[in-house]
Symmetry: C2
Subunit: 225 residues, 2 copies
């Protein structure tokens, strides 16, 4: 990616772009690099300052990890999204660790945390933009928390399956129970039990060859209310 395409990308991503000096823009561009992550690759691991990540293609999954390896997905990032929780040096009030994996083959641009932080220190607009981006993730996380703690599992699985088919525009889902459990922050056994119940209710069918197929969207949707 040459400088002019990088400039265009930053112009479209950072609302403060026109408010900082030419020197500051150059600093941000010089500190940035393109990177491709293979599917499944871990990108950010706890509290180090990886930098600000711009997603150009693919998708990233942001999650929490317990000492014994249990994961809770907090949110996903798609093309055009910006990951700021990976820049701990910019967000000093964030004291928890998140992990980020590349969920598909993903193309990203990483802006160096130190360069970004130096600009943020000079320009309140940069700080405000970064905080606003982080705070909107706070809302996502609260949603996950509410879903996990308060919602019944049938409702959660129904929402997950419907979200999944609306994303892929295909009524068939090719994920294992293990993968679904991981995405939902649940256990495989719980997902399998609920799947069996959904099959017995005629909401879905499932086979090794064809994956999970939604056959009664209307009743599945009724579960989500």
């Amino acid at each position: 990616m040459d400088t002019s395409r990088l400039t265009e990308l930053f112009e479209n991503t950072f609302p403060f772009w026109s408010m900082v000096s030419e020197d500051d823009r150059q600093t941000l561009i010089n500190s940035s690099y393109e990177v491709s992550f293979d599917k499944g690759r871990n990108i950010h691991d706890g509290n180090e300052c990886t930098g600000i990540i711009l997603i150009r293609s693919g998708s990233l999954r942001v999650y929490m990890l317990s000492e014994d390896g249990k994961e809770i997905t907090l949110y996903r990032l798609f093309p055009g999204d910006l990951c700021v929780l990976s820049a701990s040096c910019v967000l000093s009030s964030i004291t928890f660790d998140v992990f980020i994996d590349s969920e598909e083959n993903s193309e990203c641009v990483v802006v160096g945390g130190c360069a970004y932080e130096a600009i943020a220190r000079k320009h309140p607009e940069v700080k405000i933009f970064t905080y606003e981006t982080a705070l909107s993730r706070f809302s996502d996380v609260m949603w996950v928390m509410q879903q996990i703690l308060f919602m019944s599992m049938d409702k959660r699985l129904a929402i997950f399956l419907l979200d999944e088919i609306s994303k892929t525009e295909d009524d068939t889902i090719r994920l294992t129970h293990e993968q679904i459990a991981k995405y939902m922050g649940s256990a495989r056994e719980v997902v399998s039990r609920m799947m069996k119940y959904f099959i017995s209710e005629g909401l879905i069918t499932a086979s090794r060859a064809d994956g999970i197929k939604i056959i009664d969207k209307k009743r599945l949707r009724a579960l989500t209310i």
Copy 2:
């Protein structure tokens, strides 16, 4: 509280106080009022803009509430703390609802949300301070989430009991299992079962007359590691 004491309080609370104009300071003071909340009283109920709350004495509990009435305590606020999540008009990127109760008889000062928002719109420092306060709560909430989702119940109860006695500087805790469960976002049955286990292990004693008494702090502390 007269204007000069209010000014002193704001000077000590808001790091931006000296950076805004005399007019702005007067606007904040005029929009503020003192208020006493009785123990147990609900102060903020969802997403309306109650304003910025400064706690002068007592304590407030910030929690989430499910449709069926289940509560999860997110954090508590003590004298000197500032509650910004109650000012939804200032924090437009926060899209979830929190509830706030007065846990003891509490004296607070409430700064009107509209007046505060108008000043925040003019002064980036005000916005930055407010966002930083909200983001540090994000870290608290993530801690709760980690504790609830990942930690085993014995560890959680041990932490709760030790926190409680260090707060009151008394080895006796006068709370019912029901109250403890509520504070921990757990069920009374789970708390009662774990209490029984702690008693059988000789970590605590419990009686209706004398409440819960911690008798082996060392071993209780070992559980929290």
